[in-house]
């Protein structure tokens, strides 16, 4: 990636590694590079422990600094996130980049009203009066279409339903008008009917406000619903990226194919659902060969001896698999 194109990107992560130190080191993220243009939605798809949440938290530097080693570069909106000082970091968080969490019941403080919490976040970044902040909080609640927002402003989190809480959480995240919104499985804790409402809301807010969104999920259906582009993560690496259409219609990496095959949407009644055999590897050592090889039915000797190359199949279409070379050859 050349420097000229980096400046127009909202997010540019280059070869990011995250290692947690402890009795046993955990290499949670191993060389992740990803980019996001302003006003686009990137879906990161992966199973538990694939490093998708860690990647997201790296963007806000939320990981415990004393026990974490982060390598590579993270540029968001022209700022080198890993080099920010404490004050710059406080300004950056919430203002440039903001995050919504999985379970809104846990992510909202139980002893304050919704209005107080949103106003608190606004006052943190803008020098306006408490009263003006409350007015803004009300506008934000209207923006996320909470029914009877005047009343919800003075409600405590436990007085609201799950869907309303997640709307309030989104309003809280939008308090300081961020350019980048990170969503860490925002619909996982919700009922299926509420899930789709929240997804549609997020999609619309993203379009109306022109925000970039990185959306982390393990649900391929959800990822397809909201994303422009997808990145599939496995064992701390992005194994395949591309537009939603490219990934769904022409998956290259065996893991992506496995994920798609294990999905309920195309399943026929009476047939066994195809599952990927085995389990993800332990991440005590950085990978020296293809992490997916032990579960891959196409694995060859070279998969087990060296890291697979990152093969560029087209603009923004990258696959980390030796088999993709065959794809490249005839072209």
């Amino acid at each position: 990636m050349n420097p000229a194109s980096t400046s127009t990107l909202l997010v540019a992560m280059e070869n990011v590694t995250v290692r947690f130190r402890g009795a046993q080191n955990v290499h949670a993220v191993n060389g992740v590079s990803l980019t996001l243009e302003p006003g686009k939605v990137l879906g990161i798809l992966g199973e538990s422990g694939s490093g998708k949440s860690v990647t997201l938290k790296t963007l806000l530097r939320l990981l415990p600094e004393s026990r974490t080693d982060i390598g590579g570069t993270v540029i968001v909106d022209g700022r080198d996130v890993l080099a920010l000082g404490p004050q710059e970091l406080a300004d950056y968080r919430g203002r440039a980049t903001s995050m919504i969490f999985q379970d809104p019941m846990l992510a909202l403080d139980p002893v304050y009203t919704i209005g107080e919490q949103i106003a608190e976040a606004i006052v943190r970044h803008e020098k306006i009066s408490r009263k003006a902040a409350m007015q803004r909080a009300l506008e934000l609640l209207q923006l996320v279409r909470i029914p009877s927002p005047e009343r919800r402003l003075k409600a405590y989190p436990h007085e609201m339903s799950g869907g309303m809480r997640q709307r309030a959480m989104i309003a809280l995240a939008l308090a300081a008008r961020p350019k980048l919104l990170l969503a860490d499985e925002p619909t996982t804790a919700l009922d299926a009917t509420v899930q789709i409402q929240i997804l549609l809301l997020l999609r619309q807010l993203q379009r109306d406000l022109g925000m970039g969104v990185i959306f982390v999920t393990h649900d391929i259906g959800v990822a397809v619903e909201v994303s422009d582009r997808l990145a599939v993560m496995y064992a701390g690496q992005i194994v395949e990226t591309g537009t939603v259409r490219e990934l769904i219609s022409d998956p290259q990496h065996p893991y992506t194919r496995g994920l798609l095959a294990a999905n309920l949407h195309g399943a026929k009644k009476g047939e066994r659902l195809e599952a990927i055999p085995g389990a993800p590897p332990a991440l005590n050592e950085p990978p020296s060969s293809c992490s997916f090889a032990p579960r891959c039915k196409h694995a060859e000797d070279r998969c087990r001896t060296g890291l697979p190359p990152a093969i560029v199949l087209g603009e923004g279409r990258i696959v980390r698999c030796t088999r993709a070379e065959a794809e490249l050859a005839p072209a």
Binding site: L60, L62, S66, P86, A90, D91, Y92, R93, G94, R95, S98, M99, F101, Q102, D103, L106, A107, L108, D109, P110, V111, Y112, T113, E120, A121, R124, H125, S148, E150, R151, L153, K154, A155, Y156, H158, E159, M169, L172, A173, A175, A176
Partner: protein
Amino acid sequence: MSAATTDAIPVAITQPLRSPGYWAGVFKRFKRDKVAVGAGLVVLAIILMAVFADYIAPADPTRSSMLRRLRPIGTPGYPLGADELGRDMLSRLIHGARLSLFMGVVPVFIAFAVGSVIGVSAGFFGGKYNTVTMRTVDIFYAFPSVLLAIALSGALGAGVFNSLLSLTIVFIPPIARIAESVTTQVRSMDYVEAARASGAGPGTIIRVHVLGNVLGPIFVYATSLISVSMILASGLSFLGLGTKPPTPEWGLMLNTLRTAIYVQPWVAALPGAAIFITSISFNLLSDGLRSAMDVKG
């Protein structure tokens, strides 16, 4: 909670409704607890009695009369009898409430402030700071509280101020421990991470999110220590380490009337009964507060 929601619905359509709120909910649940309300009224009565002792007490608590020593309960002019120096027991009990309450509430209050600072900072910052502070606290906590209070008072010398000081020191460790454990729980909650993600510094997080969630539980625990503090203070006075005669104080009265236990057992038992009633009322009150504040879902 459910009652509040059903009340709210017709109003909500036309005008914004004031949410019943957390403390209103606490008060409502507390009101339903008959035992706690009763205990609260008793505590209130004792506080009023202590404050207005000069107006309520029928006689001077220090005026003695050698002719009227150890009168039984019900003697005309001495509704609760007279003590070993012929002083009116009722007046002495009423005046004694002042010191007893003072010794119950003040050490706990100071320890609440100091212990919260120690515990919350240890819980929030964690790491080596936590280890050093909390293990130091544990050293004090390892002594039985009665022993520690007696040892400290003995070393500092008798007197109200010194027993106040020693009681405060006795109560800091348990409060700090509770504060630390609650803070550790709150620190790992998602809403603290969410606040950090939206740019809140450590100061804001402690002030808004940690204290907001932690002070309630610590306060409830502290109120349960008031009765312990009263009993310990009485114990110190009983051993001659607290108040000096002739000041009326329940523990001291219990001590001086000890010798009269075979002559006037009922009169001799009265200060003990006063201590018992007051401390059990504080305990029941704190229990009621705890259960009323516990519900957050």
